[in-house]
């Protein structure tokens, strides 16, 4: 404004100027130019200054003071550009080639030197400027203008100078300078951190210090009486002072923000490195506390010292003296002061902690998959992550990243269903720790569940996990199956507790307590997915959720249980009883009814067995070729409650058959009017084959036993004859015979055609040389199942609907899965009513598609033409 005002004056004055005046102005103008030049370059002596001042007066007299200011500043700028700035940058020219690499130690010296030089230069320029200001001021005082203006004059000029200076530097700023600064601060900080780490080691030596003391120590309150750490402190102080000086110099040439950026990024870099260093791939310890401690000791100390050196923390010195004196008897300069943390420090602390939390969180989230793989051991890492997330609130990041890694690493064809399930269970447990409400679990679990639903063996694996200790996990990491059972047990206890609460404490007070404890769902919760109470995290429930309905799971379990019970010979069913009891708690008595009957059958069989044996002891003496009843035990089933059992005709050798019918008769005697129907192909036979030169023990199925027993009578049989005697088809016989061949008990020799191939008993070990290698080939032959699998059952049950479906499709052309499902539900209400799930229907339909009865196109089923 002022400059503008005076230029207005100039115009009026211009008309009234006399020639003399013009002459005077021109002279003093020229004089002014030359004196300015010599003043700035510092070549003239003290007379130049006087001359300069008189020229300024003269120009001011004609109201040309704005000209004085502008010209002077421009001259300063030119001089600075030529001298200071370029020489300043020249210092760093040598480093322009190296990008982001090691600048070496000398950069520190160079930087300090350059800054010092430019400061000197700046000081000189400021001196010149103050001469001008002084001249202008004294002129104004003479012409009786009040002091107020002259003060603003000064401020105004200096700020113009300052901005001129920094803009000059900025425009000529080489690209690599920020990097140099960054590098410088990084180096310094690392040095500092090393010093502090040294302290840390010393500190760890006296672990017995209680926490309060430690905290005081960290705040720098500890009595520093040993020279060693004092030396460190001094080194530290010196270093901080050095850095402080650099920062102050940078500030003075207008690089405040650049300097701050540089040391901030250096600190963050250091912090990040530290977090990575501490956290790394170690999940078994919590690192959050040590990171916080480190922030407190290294970067915050540094910032504290730095800010106080720069005079930013106002409260620093004022509060220090009266607070420290009673506590510290020998205070060292920078550590003795209790810092009522200034606002800057607090802000820094928050920034640093947030950054640390975020870094750790990112680190953990990226590795969440591995962390969850060894979950129970890695729970400290989970706990850290939980705290970080509470602070940063970036849960969605976790969900996204975890789902991606799941899809990439777990939900692939290569992963076994068992592994997926184990990971799922661990995920449930781990995420339950992070977020008890289960909102994120819901999001993360969805893809796993969807994927598992597409796998055929999911149900089987789940049931195996539930019931088997080993969980079918071959790589033997502990007993994961056990943990699932334990889970069931624990849930059972919880439920008992809940029940207890419900019975005795549901008064108003309790209701009020419950109400006041209510917390809203996290924001990320999907309102469509039910409220908090429904999302109770129950692992078994979530597993059932994969399958679709508990009926399916129970059904699968029943088949598995049947298989297991049928293979038992010792009636020892304690573990099964326990499992069934646990499952009963979760699924209700009614759905486990059939399993209970199955178990009961076993218990009854045991009793009946002993009764029959007792009754037959009193019986007559054994005749020749007759077997004692002691060799026989039996499992008696209530067929209606067992899953369908595969029946196969089988003729047993005479003595055994006799034994069985005797046993059945005795049963009939004891339990009239009930009678026994043998399922001859089921059961287990332990037998010892006695040859001339050796004895072999086997545990085989009755069919196998029947085959080998035929060879007692006759050394060689043709397939045809053998199949006729035993009463099983030739192809079935073939499979069984292979077992004995592989064991080196039988030998096959080629006949006229395949049915007349002759099987001969291998009499002695000498002519059974080749059996060893073949044993492996037939390993899976033994894993025959006697129970029809659930899929077989389903197929059988679904075939009645096949006609309906075919008719439907003939009428409607093509239909979607759901429509077929709904139509069946609507029309098949009569006996047997349609009670299958959508998934079951789908698998049945895909069976029909593979049989080429149907076609599946764009989500629609249609008849195959």
């Amino acid at each position: 404004m002022e400059a503008l005002g005076s230029s207005d004056c100039n115009l009026e004055i211009l008309e009234t100027l006399s020639d003399d005046a013009i002459q005077e102005i021109t002279e003093s103008y020229d004089g002014f130019f030359t004196t300015v030049e010599s003043l700035i370059s510092g070549t003239g002596d003290s007379s130049v200054e006087d001359e300069f001042v008189s020229h300024v007066y003269c120009l001011c007299k004609y109201g040309l003071d704005s000209l004085v200011r502008d010209h002077f500043l421009r001259s300063l700028e030119q001089a600075f550009e030529k001298g200071g700035a370029s020489s300043f940058w020249e210092h760093f020219d040598a480093y322009s080639e190296k990008k982001l690499t090691n600048y070496g130690e000398e950069i520190q010296v160079v930087l300090c030197k350059a800054l010092e030089e430019i400061s000197v230069e700046k000081q000189y320029h400021e001196k010149c400027l103050s001469i001008v200001v002084h001249a202008l001021q004294s002129y104004k005082e003479q012409s009786s203008v009040d002091r107020q203006t002259s003060d603003t004059e000064r401020v105004h000029l200096f700020s113009r100078f300052q901005s001129m200076l920094s803009s000059t530097l900025m425009t000529t700023l080489p690209q690599h300078f920020p990097e140099i600064l960054h590098w410088y601060f990084k180096e310094r900080l690392e040095e500092l951190s090393a010093i502090m780490d040294g302290d840390g080691i010393g500190e760890q030596e006296d672990d017995c210090m209680d926490l309060d003391e430690k905290l005081r120590y960290k705040n720098g309150e500890m009595d520093v009486d040993d020279g060693y750490s004092q030396g460190k402190r001094l080194g530290h102080d010196k270093l901080v002072k050095n850095i402080g000086k650099v920062v102050r110099d940078l500030r003075s040439i207008g690089f405040t923000s650049m300097a701050e950026n540089a040391y901030a990024s250096a600190i963050f870099l250091l912090l990040k490195a530290k977090v990575h260093d501490l956290a790394g791939d170690e999940y078994r310890t919590s690192v959050l506390e040590s990171i916080k401690e480190w922030i407190q000791t290294v970067p915050l100390q540094f910032l504290n010292a730095l800010l106080s050196y720069l005079g930013d923390s106002v409260s620093y010195s004022t509060t220090s003296s009266d607070l420290t004196s009673p506590l510290a008897c020998c205070p060292s300069p920078s550590f003795s002061k209790v810092v009522t943390p200034s606002e800057g420090i607090v802000r820094w602390k928050l920034r640093l902690e947030y950054f640390a939390y975020e870094t750790l969180q990112d680190l953990r989230i990226a590795k969440l998959f591995e962390i969850i793989v060894d979950y129970p051991e890695s729970s400290p890492a989970i706990e850290d992550l939980k705290q970080c997330l509470e602070y940063t609130g970036q849960h969605s990041k976790l969900v996204e990243s975890f789902i991606t890694s799941l899809k990439y690493r777990l939900l692939t064809a290569g992963a076994s269903t068992n592994d997926i399930l184990h990971q799922y269970v661990s995920t449930i447990k781990a995420l339950r720790a992070i977020d008890p409400a289960g909102v994120f679990l819901e999001a993360v679990g969805e893809p796993i569940r969807d994927y598992l639903r597409g796998r055929k063996d999911t149900i089987k694996c789940i049931v195996t996990m539930l019931t088997d200790g080993s969980g079918g996990n071959a790589n033997g990491s502990g007993n994961p199956g056990d943990s699932l059972l334990e889970e069931l047990m624990r849930d059972e206890e919880n439920q008992e507790n809940v029940g207890f609460d419900d019975d005795f404490h549901t008064d108003d007070k309790q209701a009020w307590l419950n109400a006041s404890r209510w917390e809203p769902d996290p924001v990320e919760a999907d309102p469509l997915k039910g409220s908090l109470s429904q999302r109770k995290v129950d692992i078994l429930g979530m597993l059932v959720d994969i399958i679709g309905s508990k009926e399916q799971l129970v059904n699968e379990y029943r088949v598995m249980l049947a298989e297991k019970l049928l293979n038992k010979t010792d009636y020892d069913i304690d573990t099964e009883i326990r499992t069934v009891e646990l499952l009963k708690i979760h699924f209700g008595e009614a759905s486990m009814q059939r399993c209970e009957i199955m178990l009961n059958d076993l218990i009854d069989s045991k009793r009946v067995n002993t009764n029959i044996k007792k009754a037959s002891q009193t019986g007559s003496e054994l005749r020749e070729n007759e077997l004692s009843v002691d060799t026989l035990t039996s499992t008696i089933l209530s067929t209606n409650f067992w899953p369908p059992i595969q029946d196969e005709p089988l003729e047993l050798p005479g003595p055994i058959d006799k034994l069985l019918s005797d046993y059945a008769n005795r049963y009939h005697e004891i339990k009239t009017p009930r009678k026994l129907l043998w399922k001859k192909n089921l059961g287990t036979v332990k037998l010892e084959l006695q040859f001339e030169d050796r004895a072999l023990q086997f545990t085989v199925s009755p069919t196998h036993a029947a085959i080998i027993m035929q060879f007692q009578e006759k050394k060689s049989w043709t397939y045809k004859d053998l199949s006729a005697v035993i009463g099983i088809p030739i192809d079935a016989l073939n499979r069984r015979v292979n077992f004995w061949i592989s064991k080196g008990v039988l030998r096959e020799s080629t006949g006229a055609n395949s049915n007349s191939n002759v099987l001969t008993l291998v009499e002695s070990i000498t002519d059974s040389g080749k059996n060893e290698g073949e044993e492996l080939l037939t390993g899976e032959e033994e894993s025959e199942t006697s129970i029809a699998s659930v899929e077989d059952q389903l197929r059988k049950e679904m075939t009645i609907y096949e006609k309906f479906i075919m008719g439907m499709l003939t009428n409607f052309g093509s239909m979607a899965l759901e429509r077929i499902h709904n139509t069946l539900k609507m029309f098949c209400v009569a006996d047997p009513s349609y009670d299958k799930s959508l998934q079951q229907l789908q698998s049945f339909l895909s069976g029909l598609v593979s049989e080429e009865k149907l076609e599946f196109r764009d989500g629609m089923y249609l008849l195959k033409k």
Binding site: Q593, L627, T635, Y663, P673, K686, L689, Q712
Partner: protein, 97 residues
């Protein structure tokens, strides 16, 4: 006896010993019909009030040779004010001796 055994060994090179045979059987009520005429449940199952089949839910035969779950026919007999009749053949109900 000994001589017999010796001849046995002479004719056979293979001899099975220490056999332990664990067989599987199912039990059934020896009734002519499949299902109980009262509850329409299988005889080999149990009546609607029972949980365990077999000894806990036995069958009973009437003089007319019709069989029912014991619990079912008892309920029937007790619900009749006068003399009960067999639900199947309407003859007077007598428990078979």
């Amino acid at each position: 006896m000994k001589l017999l055994l010796l001849t046995f060994y002479a004719t056979s090179v293979l001899h099975t010993q220490k056999t332990e045979w664990h067989a599987v059987a199912s039990w059934t009520w020896d009734a002519q019909d499949e299902t109980c005429g009262i509850c329409r449940m299988a005889f080999d199952g149990c009546c609607p009030d029972c949980k365990l089949p077999g000894d806990d839910c036995p069958l009973i035969w009437g003089a007319c040779n019709h069989a029912f779950h014991l619990h079912c026919i008892l309920k029937w007999v007790n619900s009749q004010t006068s003399q009960a009749h067999c639900p199947m053949c309407r003859r007077e109900w007598q428990f078979k001796e």
